[in-house]
Structure formats: structure tokens, C-alpha cells
């Protein structure tokens, strides 16, 4: 396999892991975020600093990256998840940008905007694929289990869920923490793939992209988020020769998908025997209300 193709696949694996995290929060818990690149940045810098300065083995560093991002997400979530709908969305932009600005201005620790070079290239294709599969299986267990049902209950009807005795505040924070963990792991792998980090890689554009692929794929569909990531990754590569028009096309695709098929590629379906059955029985699918969870 050529190095170029390998690179694309690794990148899609990494971005899928982050997209799974956002999918849990936005698709399954109904909390809209525009700042998750911040958690990726925390993960990436944690892994980079641990491996380069403290010679920690990379596997430990990546897990530490995920854990730190999770802890920070939890600490941020406890006070801010009281906010509903667009208030949290705008606050999450603020939080994501704050994380980036801190990384950019903390020169002595992160080297700021000059970038952080010299990270070992530990994210090979088998590593990325193994992490992708492992995280996918974990996430499937999570959303099909008790916790997953609680998350979906919070999304579908916040008041009814709390009347049924679900601690909605607790589940919302938990969902944010787990999505932070996924983005942190993705960031840690990203550091080992790119071997060079700059805070600007994790700006609002990256956050928007993470949320956009989840919506593309279909809110409430895990396989949809992964398909969305893959489609966007491939489209980005196909249009690389006309890089000038790439972002224009990207934006236009976002608008067209929303106008033509707002429920996303997969809707709420998952790839599997259930999808085939529902395709034949032609049941109507309810739309997902993702904003005012």
C-alpha cells in the first residue's frame, strides 16, 4: 500500500474516533457542541509533551491524553451543561477557543504558535486501525446498554426523562466526559501521526468539521458518523488538486445536504441486519430533535 493511501486511512481512523465522541454527545444525548477540537488539542499536546519531554511510552501517553481530556471535559461540563440549546453551543465555541488560545500563549510549555516538533511517529496504520476498532466496539456497548438508553432519553424528552427518575444532569456531564475522552485519544493519535503540532490545527474550523460529519452521517447513527468522516476525508483528498475551490465545495456540500437530506446519510439507522429489515418494511422514521435536548 502506498504511503499516501495509508496516510488517508490513518487520518480517517483518527477523525472517526473523534467523530464517535461528538456523535455520542450530539447525536445520542442531543447536546450541540462547536468546541470539541479543544479536547483534541488537549489530547494532542498531552501525548506530545509526555513522549518528547518525559520519555513516556506512547501507548501510556495516548491513554493519558484521553484521560486528561476526559477530566477537563468533566470539570467544564459540571457548571456549563446547565445551559440549554444555543447557549451551550456558543459557550462551547468560547471554551474551545479558550483552550486553543491558552495553548498558543503558554509559550514556555507548548512553544506557542511556533509549533511543537519532533514527536515520534508512533501512529502507524495497525495502531490507528486497532484504536479505531477498539473504540468503536466500546462505543457500541455503551450506546446499546443502560447508559445509552439514558442518554437517548435525555435527548428525546428531557423533562420526561427526569420525571422517570433519570439524573439528566449527571448523564449529560457523563456524555460530555466520554466524548472528551474519545477526542483526547484522537488528539493523542494525531500527534503521533503528524509528528508536529500547532494550536491553529485545532481551531473552530476543526470543531465545526467534527460536528458537521456527525450531522452528515445522521444524528443518532454511529455508523453514519463514521461514513460521514470517511466521505468528507475522501472528498477533501479528491479535490486537493483544485485546493483553491476545496473549501468552497465543502461549504456548498454542507448546505446542499441540509437542504436535500437534513436527516443525514444514515438517518437514525445503523448498518446491520436491522437496516435491511427496515428498508423492506418501509417504516417511517421519526426525525431527531438535536438542538433543544
Amino acid at each position: 500500500m502506498s504511503g499516501y493511501l495509508e496516510g488517508i486511512i490513518i487520518l480517517i481512523c483518527i477523525n472517526s474516533i473523534a467523530a464517535m465522541g461528538v456523535s455520542l454527545l450530539t447525536g445520542f444525548t442531543g447536546i450541540f457542541t462547536l468546541g470539541h477540537a479543544g479536547y483534541m488539542a488537549i489530547g494532542a499536546y498531552t501525548a506530545a509533551i509526555l513522549t518528547v519531554r518525559h520519555h513516556v511510552p506512547w501507548l501510556v501517553a495516548v491513554l493519558a491524553a484521553g484521560t486528561l481530556a476526559m477530566v477537563i471535559a468533566y470539570l467544564i461540563g459540571v457548571p456549563t451543561l446547565k445551559l440549554m440549546g444555543d447557549y451551550f453551543a456558543i459557550a462551547s465555541i468560547g471554551l474551545g477557543e479558550t483552550i486553543r488560545l491558552i495553548l498558543e500563549n503558554w509559550q514556555s510549555f507548548t512553544r506557542g504558535a511556533r509549533g511543537f516538533p519532533g514527536i515520534a511517529n508512533y501512529t502507524t496504520l495497525p495502531v490507528a486501525a486497532a484504536f479505531f476498532l477498539g473504540m468503536l466496539i466500546l462505543m457500541r456497548f455503551l450506546i446499546n446498554g443502560n447508559y445509552g438508553r439514558a442518554f437517548k432519553a435525555c435527548r428525546d424528552d428531557f423533562v420526561a426523562a427526569s420525571l422517570l427518575g433519570f439524573k439528566t444532569a449527571h448523564y449529560r456531564v457523563l456524555s460530555l466526559a466520554i466524548s472528551g475522552f474519545y477526542c483526547g485519544i484522537a488528539g493523542g493519535l494525531m500527534a503521533g501521526f503528524l509528528t508536529y503540532l500547532q494550536p491553529i490545527m485545532f481551531d473552530m474550523q476543526k470543531s465545526t468539521e467534527l460536528t458537521a460529519v456527525v450531522v452528515f452521517g445522521g444524528l443518532g447513527s454511529l455508523s453514519g458518523s463514521i461514513i460521514g468522516t470517511a466521505v468528507l476525508g475522501i472528498v477533501t483528498e479528491v479535490f486537493r488538486p483544485i485546493s483553491q475551490y476545496r473549501m468552497l465545495i465543502y461549504g456548498a456540500i454542507m448546505v446542499i445536504i441540509m437542504v436535500a437530506r437534513p436527516e443525514g446519510i444514515m438517518g437514525q439507522h445503523e448498518i446491520g441486519p436491522k437496516l435491511l429489515r427496515s428498508l423492506f418494511s418501509r417504516k417511517t422514521v421519526n426525525e431527531v430533535d438535536g438542538t433543544h435536548g
Binding site: K82, L248, G251, V255, P262
Partner: protein, 293 residues
Amino acid sequence: METLLQQVINGLSLGSVYALIAVGYSLVYSILLFSNFAHGGFLVIGGYICYYTLAAVGNNIWIASLLALLGAGVSAVLVERVAYKPIRERTNVTLYLLIASMGMSIVIENIFVVTVGGRFRALPPVIPTNPVNVFGLATTSAFDILSLMMAIFFLSGLQLFLSKTKWGLAIRAASYDLRTAGLMGVNVNQLISIVFFVAGLLAAVGGIFLSVRYTLYPQLGLITIKAFVAAVIGGLGSLPGAVVGSLILGLAEMLTAGFISSQMRDIVVFGMLVLTLLWRPTGLFGKHVAEKV
């Protein structure tokens, strides 16, 4: 003392420009209940129309700004017709509108990158920027005073429009309940077009002043994030809130730049956002929306 007064004037002037942008954004939010991320695009469209008209008609700021205002207003209406109308007619899920608006903002930004290029352009010196002495207490630039006055002019104009005209009454009714306003015989599509026209027009005024302050480039629209933050601090959908939030933000930004460090100003802005929301989850003037059971 003199520096303090100077920074206060600068802050009010910057805040008043934010207010022009935030009020339009809040107006759209109050009707359609979604964050229009393409709002920054209207500002850039206004800026570029102004720039090219100035070049074509020989530095006549009146013709140039008139065309810029109309052009931005019309393109705002077009954006609504092309991207938002098909979505809002099909579903009431505001998340889809939000994603479409993000796509639209990327499209508008990159139309300018592709056609006129990404370089920074300075408007010809049509707006005076010479130093002015304020009652012998402080020195500031004529530009700051002018932008403050223009903002007051346009915001009072908007206030008159909303309180004295028939369409203003309709807009106020729609901000309570769009559906009921429609049932009462208001032409909802026309009303939404008018709201977008007004929002685009106000954004263009802000755009002209911002392009004098920071020069003009396709990503200038990103500065509207601060106007969004201001609108959220003030309370989404509340016009007085948007103005107050903008002035607070402008002051905070300029005072930080003047007395702490200009690199800290963005961190202060986002920090203020988070602290305000923790203290009052719906902003300073926000309506507290109770969940309906």
C-alpha cells in the same frame, strides 16, 4: 487617567460596531430561533462592495456605503431564500438551519478567497482617522467618535422601525410566536425576508467600520463570533441585551488590551462569556423559557 478615558472611548466605539452586528444576529434569532453563522458573511460582502465601489466611483463614501448596505441586505435575503427557506418549510428542527448557516458562511468566505484572493486590503482614506481632543481630557481618533455616532444613528433607526411601523409591529409579534403571527395574517415569508434585509444592512455598516479598523480580508467575518458572544451575554433574541452585551465586550477588550496585554483580550472575552452564563444561564436580558411538560 488619560489612558483610561482613551481606552473607554475606544472600547465604546468597538462595542458599538459589535452592537450593529449583534443586533442583526439577535433579530434573526428572535424570529427563527437559530444562530445564523452566515451573519459574518454579510459583513464581508458589505465591506467588499464598499471597497470596489470606492475604486470605481472615485472615493465617494456615500454612494459606496449605500450600495454596500443594499448589496449586503439583498444577499442576506438571497441566502435565506436559497439555504434556509427550504429547510424551515420542511422541518422545525433548528439544528439543520444552524449547520446550513455554517456551510453558507464557509461558502461566502471562500467565494471571496477564490475571486478576489485572500490578501488584506485597506480602504482608501475616506473616513477621517485624525486625532481628536475630547474636552481636553483625552485624545482619540475621529474614526472612533464617528463609528460610535453612526452606530447610535442606525440603532435608533432600527428602534423607530420596530416601534413605529406596521412591519415593526409584525416583527415584534413574530418574535413572540412566529406561527401565531402567521395565523393572524402576517405574510411570514415576506417578514423573514425583511428581517434578513435589515440584519444584512446593519452587518454591512459594521463591516465598513471593521474594514477601516482592521483592513479587509475574506476571514474578517470570523470577528462576528465576538458579536455572537455579546448577543449571548446580553441574552439571545433580546435587542437591548445585544447592545449592552456588545458595549461590555468592547470595553472589556480595549481595557484588557490597554492595561494587561493585547494577547489576553480574546481569552478575557471568552472567559467573560462563560462566567456570565454561569451566573445567569440565559444572559443578562434573556427570557427564561420554561420547559413545557
